[in-house]
Subunit: 127 residues, 4 copies
């Protein structure tokens, strides 16, 4: 799925791990990912977590999409920092799922905590 | 502030309105903003809303940052769609603020609803 | 619906207004609603908002239930305070709805902001 | 702290475990805890999770309060069901904390997932 994900590719995201219910995706912060305070734009931290969530929640032969998510920002980062998002399924019940994603920096410090809410559709997953 | 926001600039965001507690920011979805399902990457919808939030919540001479946010995705969009994020202060109480951001498409249909939680710091805002 | 709501009745909730997409419910804080810090238990502030949400989102002849909610606590209250929760539909799109509930005290100060996520089922609403 | 918590006592909550960063609290659903659909009122499920969160996050000699929380409801319950809320610290960073609370029924099925956001104050904890 991520092979065809142009947005994640342009942002330089790398899939480190992809198993049912678990995904790890990393990204190196570039100068063009900073906001007006010279720190990593929160939207791109979210985008990294969201991509890890998407990889983790597409576990079977049906397309699963994000219904929503909550993020808490805990630590700011900057250019050159390597961010790693680790997504884990918390629960899947019927069509609904919850996945927790922790974003850390290279020192292992927590940058953000994200919880995604997924909905599984009837559409077959692309090959 | 957004003048120095490299990430928002690279994503082609345009500030349409910037008043205390209110901001409108728009973005045209490009091919490189799509995810593996050929729809706009949720992280970039979030990034648009987050930028509008940042503009709206930096209302005075202190830096205000995002402590967190929740987003609900309601409608998918694709290449060429023009998304508009309208942020409005709901409440500011002491250092804490809540801002609601609605993202719509060109037809006025709601694409996402976002609620941002802000914290005002002691740092002076950059000139 | 609320006529049969034992929990809301025991907590002394009063429906002040009930129109499609809008509801106002009030509650007087009693000594047995305080937590260990002698302030209103956050769970009961949530319960008040949740009841207003339930009234507002059950707009038609199908049962609508809460899928989830987010609350931000802004001001503590205590025994004797009269809390009023005003729920308004933000959007309803297919089976999904978002309702914003503001809880205020007698002086009109905001005690909490709540956003509920609803799902409409196929079950007919009780008469 | 919970010894003085009138609201939790009236709701019949029992503290099963109380260690720094971890708490387990249980509650048996009574007839007066049901809503108009004859299922446990979501506000009381939240209240149970919120109490477990409060016990878990008051880890040291300063008062810690809830800044907010998000809950997802996954399974409805009814009269006689025994609900157990298990709260675990996810992260504490400066004054801010995140605690995840899982509410289960007697069969171990997940009833709700809750994530609380805490703020530690300067006030000394009551003895």
């Amino acid at each position: 799925m991520l092979r065809a994900d142009a947005a994640s590719a342009v942002l330089g995201m790398r899939i480190e791990r992809d198993e049912p219910g678990i995904a790890v995706v990393s990204m190196t912060v570039r100068a063009d990912m900073l906001n007006g305070f010279a720190i990593t734009h929160g939207g791109l931290v979210f985008a990294l977590a969201d991509t890890a969530f998407a990889v983790a929640c597409n576990e079977d032969d049906k397309v699963t999409v994000a219904a929503g998510a909550d993020i808490t920002f805990l630590r700011s980062t900057g250019e050159g920092d390597v961010l790693t998002a680790t997504a884990r399924r918390r629960i899947r019940s019927g069509r609904t799922g919850l996945y927790d994603v922790t974003v850390t920096d290279a020192a292992g410090e927590i940058v953000a905590e994200f919880r995604g809410r997924s909905v599984t559709t009837d559409r077959p997953a692309p090959a």
